[in-house]
């Protein structure tokens, strides 16, 4: 199942190292499409990534609070097959999306990844996040200057004892 050379290995290394840092540019965002406007806003959000709980991280990153929306579709397993690499993804039908972020409430630092979107790109991202224990997972979508959220509980279990 694994190879040790080639693009896959590289990608795996990136993902491993990305468990708690931003993955700017790794999503659906082609480099060529990055407009100047995004570049101007490109400063690494150090303060936000340092926050321990998700509310503080959202505030540090966006300076406002999010309202739950059924237009944000967050996909993640109910029970993680491997807490070290939990596949999560967000899609949305909201217009004018400028940013999508993932927050893992029970991780030592809540903000796990934040993506910025150029005009005209499809607002969909997938990532794999490390979760040490069962946690609330929050997805934030910034659209037209407002914040929207979706939440899902992901269980990380010791396993065993199936019927």
């Amino acid at each position: 199942m694994t190879t040790t050379t080639g693009p896959l290995a590289t990608r795996r290394l990136i993902l491993q190292g990305a468990a708690s840092v931003a993955l700017l540019g790794l999503g659906n965002l082609p480099f060529a499409a990055t407009p100047a406007r995004a570049a101007a806003n490109d400063k690494y959000p150090e303060e936000a990534f340092r926050q321990k709980n998700e509310a503080d991280a959202i505030k540090a990153l966006y300076g406002k609070t999010a309202e739950p929306s059924d237009k944000v579709k967050l996909d993640a397993p109910e029970i993680a097959e491997n807490g070290g690499v939990v596949p999560v993804s967000v899609t949305t039908t909201l217009d004018k999306v400028t940013s999508i972020s993932f927050l893992v409430a029970e991780n030592p630092f809540a903000l796990a990844a934040s993506y910025k979107f150029a005009d005209g790109t499809i607002p969909a991202v997938a990532n794999r996040l490390k979760m040490a224990k069962s946690t609330k997972l929050v997805a934030i979508v910034e659209a037209d200057g407002k914040l929207y959220s979706a939440t899902k509980d992901v269980k990380v279990t010791v396993g065993g004892c199936g019927g």
Binding site: T157, G160, C161, G162
Partner: protein, 583 residues
């Protein structure tokens, strides 16, 4: 024998006129019990969780099967009298014996063993003949290949042969996956039916490395569904494998595959079957477990009936569940070959207009074993039965497993582990398979294997702090009592030997387990380290297989010298009808 016959006749509501018939006339009696009124235009037969029990068995249904949250007091979380009342079953009847724990030993003497594939074959053939060619289907919901010593040494090959002779046309899986991909694929090569699973996908790595898949575009490892022509109608069968295989079992068996409930993919697939393939009926052959199926039925639309398994709930009537587009019926068909479910459908163009459902107990004493199947079973067992037939102990009490927290079988296994491996505490998995042995019935290695035969049987001894022990108990307890069924895995609570505790099922994770004490009454300290024995670990272990340890202990003749007792005190569930004698 006369008494037993009379009991059956009473339970079947027959006239006393046939009482004088000789034993050979049993065929006529059976005819009455298994004579179903003709209904509809398609018949689907469903077996599930037989756990490879080739011969008839005793199997005691649980006396503790607690439901919490919305599941409290609802099927399948009813036991004993509450169960009989809910389904209108007469106490003291053969059906009460098949479906509940009430007066189990007494009734076992009256009604005998249930199941057995030669008996199932007779019944299935008859119910298929009743409706004629191309009007019936035989489906298996999984856990067909595991549960006996024979299935374990043959890695399920025995059950593939049996399935072919029985005529199983489609199946899904759970323990089938614990033989690993290669064995699974080899077995499926020989299987004449189809293996269906809409919810098994290649991991991203496996897809990247071009691993084998049914559909490369979606990453689905197996065919998700099949469409069968039944009369002039088209019926779609979708397979739903156990969603938590890599979590409940060692991940090494399925490294390339990712499971899950996959509600969204399921909805898309149902919609495609309805919209593109224009099927007239959609059946989900599910190994989700009943609570998960009940929730799924409320959220996914377009499924007519979910034929369920995994949680081993013998539920005599389908449970209707409303959703955004209509109603889905949810069933669960018990375990160990005890039952054959019969779903008769009245199908019109594009829809199911009505159904009849019967969960038929397979009373082995009322069914003549099919000679061909009996011969096959004999041939499969022959190379091994002698090795396993030595009587190694005769227990002085009823031994059963099923129950949320404990049962005598697992108390025995825990005592064997603690004694033979010299530990204070033993942990044993809360499996729901494993047959029942009557008091005074001599046990053989074949019996021990029927409680322990898995592909990761290695025992272990390790040190755990009191805090770690509590965490493990909390974690597994949440798999059972999480208020949201999608977070449940469907097994029972881990069995603890040498340890007593209080459990509050209605609490949240972290707050259910309290008052942990050693067998001698000493309180468990969070920081103290305890020696713990166990088996069936999801991480690799090196110890002797558990059946050897249990066999050694039984041979020593010490069986029940130690005080037994579950050691679990329940809190907050006083009126819960999921506990016998309550509600």
């Amino acid at each position: 024998m006369a008494i037993r016959r009379r009991d059956f006749l009473k339970s079947a509501g027959l006239a006393a006129a046939s009482l004088g018939l000789p034993r050979l006339a049993r065929g006529t009696e059976a005819a009455s019990i298994y004579d179903l009124e003709r209904f509809g235009n398609a018949r689907i037969l469903h077996i599930t969780d037989t756990h490879a029990q080739l011969n008839p068995v005793y199997f005691r249904e649980p006396s503790v099967n607690i439901g919490v949250g919305e599941m409290a007091g609802r099927p399948p979380h009813l036991v004993g009298r509450a169960f009989l009342e809910r389904f209108g079953i007469r106490p003291d009847s053969a059906d009460a014996y098949a479906l509940t724990c009430l007066e189990f030993e007494k009734s076992a003497g009256r009604f005998g063993k249930l199941g057995g594939f030669a008996h199932l074959k007779t019944l299935i053939d008859r119910l298929r003949a009743d409706v004629g060619e191309k009007r019936s289907l035989l489906l298996d919901g999984g856990d067909l290949w595991q549960g006996t010593g024979l299935a374990n040494v043959m890695q399920g090959r025995d059950m593939v042969e049996v399935a072919n002779l029985l005529g199983i046309e489609a199946m899904t899986g759970h323990w089938e996956f614990t033989y690993g991909e290669q064995v699974l694929r080899d077995n499926l090569e020989r299987f004449k039916g189809e293996f269906l699973a809409q919810n098994v996908f290649l991991t991203e790595e496996a897809a990247f490395n071009d691993a084998l898949a049914f559909d490369k575009a979606t990453g689905r490892v197996f065919k998700p569904s099949t469409i069968k022509e039944m009369g002039s109608h088209r019926v779609a069968i979708i397979g739903q494998a156990f969603p938590y295989v890599p979590i409940a079992h060692p991940k090494r068996f399925t490294p390339d595959w990712s499971f899950g409930i996959r509600e969204e993919e399921l909805q898309k697939h149902v919609d495609a079957l309805r919209g593109t393939d224009k099927v007239d009926a959609v059946i989900l052959l599910s190994h989700n477990g009943m609570d998960v199926d009940l929730k799924l039925a409320s959220r996914v639309t377009g499924i007519d009936v979910i034929l369920g398994g995994h949680t081993h709930d013998a539920v005599p009537q389908p449970i209707p569940v409303k959703n955004a587009a209509g109603t889905t019926l949810v069933t669960n068909a018990g375990s160990n070959g005890k039952f054959l479910a019969v779903l008769d459908l009245a199908i019109d163009k594009g829809k199911v207009s009505d159904v009849r459902y019967h969960l038929l107990p397979v009373y082995s004493e009322l069914l003549k074993p099919d000679p061909g199947m009996a011969e096959l079973i004999g041939r499969l067992r022959a190379p091994h039965v002698t090795d396993w037939s030595e009587k190694i102990a005769t227990p002085d009490r009823l031994l059963y497993r099923r129950g949320n927290f404990s049962g005598p079988i697992d108390e025995l296994i825990c005592t064997a582990l603690r004694t033979e491996l010299d530990t204070e505490i033993a942990l044993s998995p809360g499996f729901r398979w494993g047959v029942t042995a009557l008091s005074g019935q001599a046990l053989t290695m074949e019996d021990v294997l029927a409680e322990t035969a898995i592909t990761y049987p290695e025992t272990y001894v390790q040190e755990m702090t009191g805090a770690q022990i509590k965490d493990v108990l909390e974690d597994i307890c949440d798999n059972l009592f999480n208020a949201d069924p999608y977070y449940q895995q469907g097994g029972d609570m881990v069995r603890a030997g040498g340890l007593s505790y209080t459990c509050t099922p209605t609490a949240a994770i972290g707050g259910r387990i309290s008052e942990l004490k050693l067998h001698n009454g000493k309180t468990i300290s969070a920081s103290h380290r305890y020696k713990v024995a166990g088996w069936a670990s999801v991480t690799g272990q090196q110890g002797a297989p558990v059946w050897d340890v249990v066999g050694r202990y039984l041979r020593s003749g010490r069986m029940f010298q130690e005080r037994l007792g579950s050691g679990v005190t329940l809190k907050g569930v006083d009126d819960n009808p999921g506990i016998a004698g309550q509600g």
